[in-house]
Symmetry: C2
Subunit: 550 residues, 2 copies
């Protein structure tokens, strides 16, 4: 099982004439075989044409069939985990255990969405039967449900080559909803993208779904992605990546003659609030947990903590010294690709120049800063090892600042993608609340508090619940549960659409819209809305939920 | 109870210094007292400031309290129906019975949303309890629900001075969700807007809700509305009106530093497909029903039929002759305001010039068209009465064309707001399907078919279900049920967001977003997610729906 370097347009191959590019091994700094051919405008056109043809067919396929396809894809990925992980290791420099775990998560996500499709209740079927004798007017029979939007363009992320990529969360939920999917592969891991895509394509063929159910397009640049988002056949977009990239797609989609929904997940700074009692109770464990959470996979998680907020005290300074020692001991490691590493370097260099901000951990730390009484971290890091030299390698670079500077500086509230964070020192509890209020929209916020402190956090929780999609008590934001109750979303700029979640069973509804059938004969209705309730759905019938027949 | 002509900013009055305008009586063509003062930038700022202050308070008010406020508003409107209707008649030229019915509908909508808020299930509460011993990783406790977005800007419509205006559907569902509302009054009916707003404001005060819960802003132009949509405190927009107006707000909202959701309902052409068997079975009733539906309130409904599709036959031509006779007998009547009348005149004039289109019913019909063998309508209308002369008055103006012209002419697929429609003659059944496929996104589509024909409409239904929010069998699109199963929405350009409905119990969710609480102590959780289930909600607990405790 080896990548061939060509887009998959339905069951066929893309045009061989496009521009070529290669994946890089970021750890070794070498180009990988084979060369990949960027999709041509004709390839995009054909993928969209096939998807548009497939869409009405998929809309009629039942949940059982959708589940079957998703389970077939999951089984194939599971069966080919070893070569997939091997290629992903080369292309992303992520570790084997992490990638094996990600394959497992991806397979679980596919099966979770299969279960959602099979159960069928997600479609929110509602029935109001006719009241022909009602005065002054009779009531007609109304039956409504969610139906698939149509072809979806999915942009694979750089940091999750499996779970948010070709057969990742968006693809799984879109197929579960009955939407054809056209994936724009992330150019940093085209090989594993193609390998997964071939498995998806095999499953589509074996399950006898239409050819246009799935396509994969390569492009080292932006043209293919832009064409996809502009294409009239495309009805929605899923994206996981940078704010800049996500916003560009949002703007393109909003400027279309017929604007379409974009679900862009653009990262987050994931603030962690550390209360004094929690530090007193379990400072060592918190230092370990925070250092781990912030440096996992070289800090390249959208849930990676990027801001740590604490009240200044001797104990807090002692905690930060311990934290800094742990961070300082984290070996440098290759980031996902040279572009991300270059962005990381530029961002930390710019942040270091912000007035009122001190570099606290990491490369380039000027010795004179260690003399500042404010720099507990810098002290601990005074005899840090030499800066990393590997081309794509990065080690933690942390900053510290005071609450006033943080609140007044927009640049400090933006995510630096990679192992970097800002420690925000507050003078008192009110400042902690001001910092929370100053935050942009995010995916998560975490509070660590002792049992007695937790009870006093209502005001902070209220502020954070208005800012993020998930508020965590005494936990770290990394390590996301894929489940029925999870929310992976949040207000802009964390996502383009804070009403939706990218993860969990609820994600399926982002690819659907409500349709109502008025006064329909039973045999013209979709099975979800028929009297006999052949799919045994939980439906709202005349205002009451029931899983019975009419 | 008389309007005073000034914006309501919370419990206070707007600045008296703004530009002035007056409502017009479109039937009599005279200006009405009093003069209304446009809100100033300072008024907008204060309304937004108050709303932002109120938002976190409203988010904590329970469903019972939200229901109480909505019921108080409903009771006040009900109690003042007579003066409200009297003023609305002057400002809109709509009939008394129609307006009384609309007040009833508005009151019912408020009570429906009160019931939704009181029941509380709309928040989609989901709980997954912790599995501390799970391997390889423990599962944390996750609890999630929908929470209010924050301040909502609502733009009142011209054609529903009650039901889609100050205390209309969007306001009712936004308050039910726990969002403060700032209404931009439609300048064509400022008097009735102010009267309703004072009732809302009284109810807010009596229920002891925060001052920022509700404001009403006047403006004869666009500045106030644009400022509202751009204001950082505003988190979502509800709009009912023209495509041009809705798209302008969509573009403004999408261009914000933090884009926000816009729910714009921009009208629809509401095609009606008439099958031969239905014409044979009940042609007279269909002609009567269609003529009524298309001319109700001078065709000024967003669900007014604007396209009639039939296969050419002697019987169909006979039907159209009967239809035309009925349409021709509809007396001219005043439209909502002079601007709408001017747009109507311009639109029908332009449509009459389209190659392949014949004016079939109505003013300005050139006699020579009656000689065309294609113009069954024109024949019936040959001795039509003289064109209407009243300044705002309009009578039906209908067109006819062939399927090929319709499919190939974008302008024919756009709504003309008012009593105008296009009859599309098809040569055969396949052409009917082509016409359906050529349609833009719409709110509704209706099919009239005999019992045996209905069974053959699966292909047409599938095409229409992909185009509109409500597909109707043997009924007309006007007369919308406000209920649990209704959908009033549809793909762009009918609305800005086809995933949502403007009408019915589901509308509440458009003003909310998901938030997840991880590992929270029970007393820090909102009551919706607490173990004891104090609100007795139907919740998903560990994957199963239950209304019990944990």
């Amino acid at each position: 099982m080896k990548p061939e370097g060509i887009s998959l347009i339905g069951f066929g191959a893309g045009s061989p004439g496009g521009k070529q590019f290669r994946a890089q091994d970021p750890a070794r700094g070498v180009a990988l075989d084979p060369a990949f051919v960027s999709a041509t405008p004709g390839d995009v056109e054909r993928a969209c044409f096939l998807a548009a043809q497939a869409a009405p067919v998929l809309a009629t396929l039942g949940g059982a069939e959708r589940g079957k396809l998703l389970r077939a894809i999951a089984a194939k990925i599971e069966a080919h985990a070893a070569p997939l992980v091997a290629r992903a290791m080369q292309e992303t420099a992520l570790g084997e255990v992490r990638l094996q775990g990600e394959v497992t998560r991806t397979v679980n996500q596919l099966r979770l969405q299969a279960g959602v499709a099979e159960a069928g209740d997600w479609c929110d079927a509602r029935i109001e039967t006719a009241l022909p004798d009602r005065k002054p007017l009779p009531r007609p029979d109304h039956r409504s449900m969610l139906r698939p939007l149509g072809p979806v363009a999915v942009f694979g992320s750089s940091n999750f080559p499996f779970a948010y990529s070709v057969a990742g969360g968006d693809t799984a939920s879109a197929l579960a909803a009955g939407c054809p999917v056209i994936v724009k592969a992330h150019p940093a891991h085209p090989g594993v993208s193609e390998m997964v895509a071939r498995l998806v394509s095999e499953a589509v063929r074996e399950c006898e779904w239409p050819e246009g159910t799935f396509s994969l397009l390569f492009d080292a640049g932006f043209e293919v992605g832009q064409s996809l988002v502009r294409h009239p056949a495309v009805r929605a977009v899923g994206f996981t990546g940078s704010r800049q990239g996500g916003r560009a797609l949002m703007d393109l989609a909003a400027a279309r003659p017929e604007p379409i929904p974009v679900y862009a997940e653009m990262g987050s700074i994931n603030p962690v609030f550390l209360m004094p009692g929690a530090l007193a109770e379990r400072g060592d464990a918190l230092a370990e947990g925070l250092a781990n959470s912030a440096t996992l996979s070289v800090g390249q998680f959208c849930t990676s903590p990027g801001v740590v907020v604490l009240e200044r005290s001797g104990a807090a300074e002692e905690f930060v010294r311990k934290l800094a020692a742990r961070l300082g001991a984290v070996p440098e490691a290759a980031m996902l690709h040279a572009g991300i590493k270059a962005n990381f370097d530029r961002a930390v260099k710019e942040r270091a120049k912000v007035t009122g901000v001190r570099t606290a951990v990491g490369a380039g730390l000027p010795r004179e800063q260690t003399e500042s009484g404010h720099s507990a971290v810098a002290e601990a890091m005074a005899d840090k090892k030499a800066p990393p030299t590997g081309k794509c390698s990065a080690a933690p670079v942390w900053f510290e600042t005071d609450a006033e500077t943080f609140c007044g500086t927009a640049a400090l509230k933006e995510e630096i993608f990679g192992p970097s964070a800002v420690i925000v020192w507050c003078q008192h509890r009110n400042e902690v609340l001001l910092v929370a209020k100053a935050l942009e929209g995010g995916l998560t916020a975490a509070i660590h508090a002792s049992a007695s402190e937790a009870a006093e956090q209502a005001a902070l929780v209220a502020v954070l619940a208005d800012k993020v999609g998930r508020v965590i008590l005494n936990g770290f934001p990394t390590g996301l549960e894929v489940s029925t109750a999870i929310v992976h979303g949040g207000p802009y700029p964390a996502t383009s659409d804070g009403r939706s979640t990218a993860v969990g069973t609820r994600a399926i509804t982002r690819w659907a819209r409500l349709v109502c059938y008025q006064n329909f004969a039973d045999d013209l209705l979709p099975p979800e809305l028929q009297n006999a309730n052949p799919l045994k759905l939980r439906r709202m019938v005349n205002g009451e939920w029931t899983d019975g027949k009419l």
